[in-house]
Symmetry: C2
Subunit: 420 residues, 2 copies
């Protein structure tokens, strides 16, 4: 059998008989001729045939002669075709997949994700997401990180009891991990530098465009840092790697008209206290969404950067394991990375001394017993360390200007949605 | 501050003052001199000092003069050291991490994983695992696969109701996914070729050396195949990629004395019926563990291969979505890959026509309603496809000759174990 050729490769085979395979993206029957556009993972191929075209989304294999035609996609088309149906489409898609824009509403897209995501624009978003993840890994592999895989079932809900999913674990109560925080810190003790790409779970009771019950977290944790600024440098390196790979998906980027940002060699940063001054001087311990937008615009105006680090968040708003700012313990050695008006990443330096953990828990009035397994790690000698977590779906949404992260999630899970 | 140098890089810095950082792996106080061996992610560095050595596992930063010494690890040591403690070790490890072999029992290792995994031999296993995963991805990226991230919370337990974890999902009943089977098949309709590396969950009530409640599944699914043999070729390619990367971790491989197998250009294969003949001709529908060992030995003897495909497993033992063998529907277009006496991978060609799914469910007396979301995929035109899943922990265990997969899992979860 003739080896399969991808649609995008057709121009290199003019004059040859080749076999392509894919989905009938569109059939157009004119008076004397029928055009069937076949879609495969590389793009579109035009097949010139007679008689009726197969129903759209039928899977076909077409053997034909590659013929130059400047009007065809890529400048070549298949003539004298022999067409074999590999898989019938018995139900039409909920909207026409061949139209350049997506006309359906978000619920329609999500309800029929296995077919609606075939639309080239929707598909392209997930190509960018996959490339971003590959770039994240490549950047961190390049600086000596080790990839880890940690438990998603945990015995206690340390991060925030309110938004955790409970599991019946062989008759015992267990929980879905809200983050790999404990494990990635522990593994700094083994590998110094680690990352994990995996699902995290939040029983998020709010129905917003920014929250999901499961998302993909790109987590990193780095040992032997001087302070949080070393973590920020690693994050900058990771983001640059993600963008480099995303940019390499040229056809997806161009189809989506995505404007990929420049990453400054050093991303500008502003201390939380200074940021609050800029915002009018109110003594708040957090930034409102409008504040984040204001600061992002400020960074673009003042520094020409779509990224901005806000450092030194008040300890009152950070988890107990956060390293306070030396000499100013109201603030912390932590940061948020704002991107295009929104918080994209949270990170910082962690405590690393056993005694500091005990003191931090006591100060918050929490019992060390509840954290026994976590505290054990720091009894065995841990270096100064810190890390961050990037939400993949949020990253893709901001990068591509998509308003709702459900649209950058293959099969989102939220308060109302458990299928498909 | 002088930039940090890794232990393994010391020989390149003889005559310079450098800074190393790591854990005090071992202190040896002799009459006139003290040796402190510092362990970092690259290896060991010998520090020559006076007075008592810090407690083992203390995290230190040492600035000193790199001096040639053929007896030191790597042929260089640090003299005239200035030592700063970065993190105290307040509790000793449960066993001496500096001894070449691990003397502790498995429960001790697992109970204190954050510190016991610092032992170079235990750590090396996870380096090999991480390299294997990187090799899996690189091999599949190289043939046009797209990486996907799918839900781990699902609305129905399609694969096997008996061994599924239930979740309270906002007051509704939901389950932890036992595999990404549904999603990866659906995504063949979008990307043609996909893979996912992620956790899968089995409420496995048996306390064996082979089963865990959570493991890391390396899943692939490939569209536009002729039959299961195309899937076997992709699996062979993936395994070769995993081994290539594993081999590149030379120090880990050598420390463990791991004997990495050769992958034949074409892995030998035997049909299930023929295998049963070889085993004495009993009309069984499955292979017992002793049978798998026998066949593995046979493949090594007859074909010089540590890998063996057994194809054509009886449909009675395969899930309903399996493609039957053309002309012989008692058997299936599926396979197991045996490696060193054990089943390592299961895979095969799936049904791809909507009507075939309906018929297969009817034949098994199951209701299509329970599979509605799954069946929907095949109503929209799907190509012939198939795939496989490799259990990462099992792979690493077989590769390194480890008897219990708990030992190749960072933080195993089983019937009894939910911490650390």
């Amino acid at each position: 059998m003739i080896a399969r050729v991808l649609a995008a490769e057709l121009p290199a085979h003019i004059g040859e008989r080749v076999r392509v395979a894919g989905w009938v993206h569109r059939g157009r029957e004119l008076k004397s001729v029928t055009f069937a556009i076949v879609r495969d993972r590389s793009g579109l191929a035009q097949v010139v045939m007679s008689g009726p075209a197969p129903t759209e989304e039928t899977v076909v294999e077409v053997t034909g002669l590659v013929t130059a035609n400047p009007k065809a996609p890529g400048g070549a088309e298949l003539t004298e075709p022999v067409l074999v149906v590999l898989g019938e489409a018995v139900t039409p898609p909920p909207f026409d997949l061949y139209r350049p824009t997506v006309s359906a509403t978000l619920p329609t897209i999500l309800d029929s994700a296995p077919v609606t995501l075939r639309h080239p624009r929707l598909r392209a978003q997930f190509e960018i997401a996959a490339a971003s993840v590959a770039g994240f890994r490549a950047a961190l592999d390049g600086i000596g990180c080790t990839e880890i895989h940690t438990p998603k079932i945990v015995g206690s809900a340390t991060e925030s009891g309110a938004t955790v999913f409970g599991i019946d674990y062989f008759g015992r109560r267990a929980f879905l991990a809200q983050s790999p925080q404990f494990f990635k810190q522990a593994m700094v003790g083994v590998f110094e530098r680690v990352y994990e790409v995996g699902p995290v779970f939040r029983a998020e009771p709010h129905d917003t465009a920014r929250h999901l019950a499961q998302y993909t977290s790109l987590d990193a944790e780095i040992g032997f840092i001087a302070d949080h600024r070393d973590v920020m440098a690693v994050l900058r390196h990771a983001i640059a790697g993600m963008l480099e790979r995303a940019a390499s998906r040229e056809s997806a980027v161009s189809l989506l008209g995505a404007e990929l940002p420049e990453v400054p060699a050093e991303i500008p940063s502003i201390h939380f206290a200074e940021a609050r001054q800029l915002l009018g001087g109110k003594d708040e311990v957090d930034l409102a969404p409008t504040d984040e937008r204001f600061l992002s615009e400020w960074a673009l105006r003042e520094h020409g950067s779509e990224f901005l680090f806000v450092t030194g968040y008040p300890m009152a708003k950070r988890p107990f394991y956060t390293q306070p700012e030396p000499g100013n313990p109201k603030y912390s050695n932590s940061f948020d990375l704002l991107f295009r008006g929104l918080e994209l990443v949270t990170g910082g330096q962690r405590l690393h001394r056993h005694a500091d953990y005990l003191a931090a828990l006591e100060q918050r009035g929490e019992s060390p017993e509840a954290y026994q397994s976590y505290l054990e790690v720091f009894a065995h000698g841990m270096p100064p360390h810190g890390g961050f977590a990037i939400g993949l779906e949020r990253w893709t949404a901001r990068l591509l200007g998509v308003a709702n992260i459900r649209q950058t999630t293959l099969f989102p899970r939220d308060l109302h949605r458990l299928t498909p």
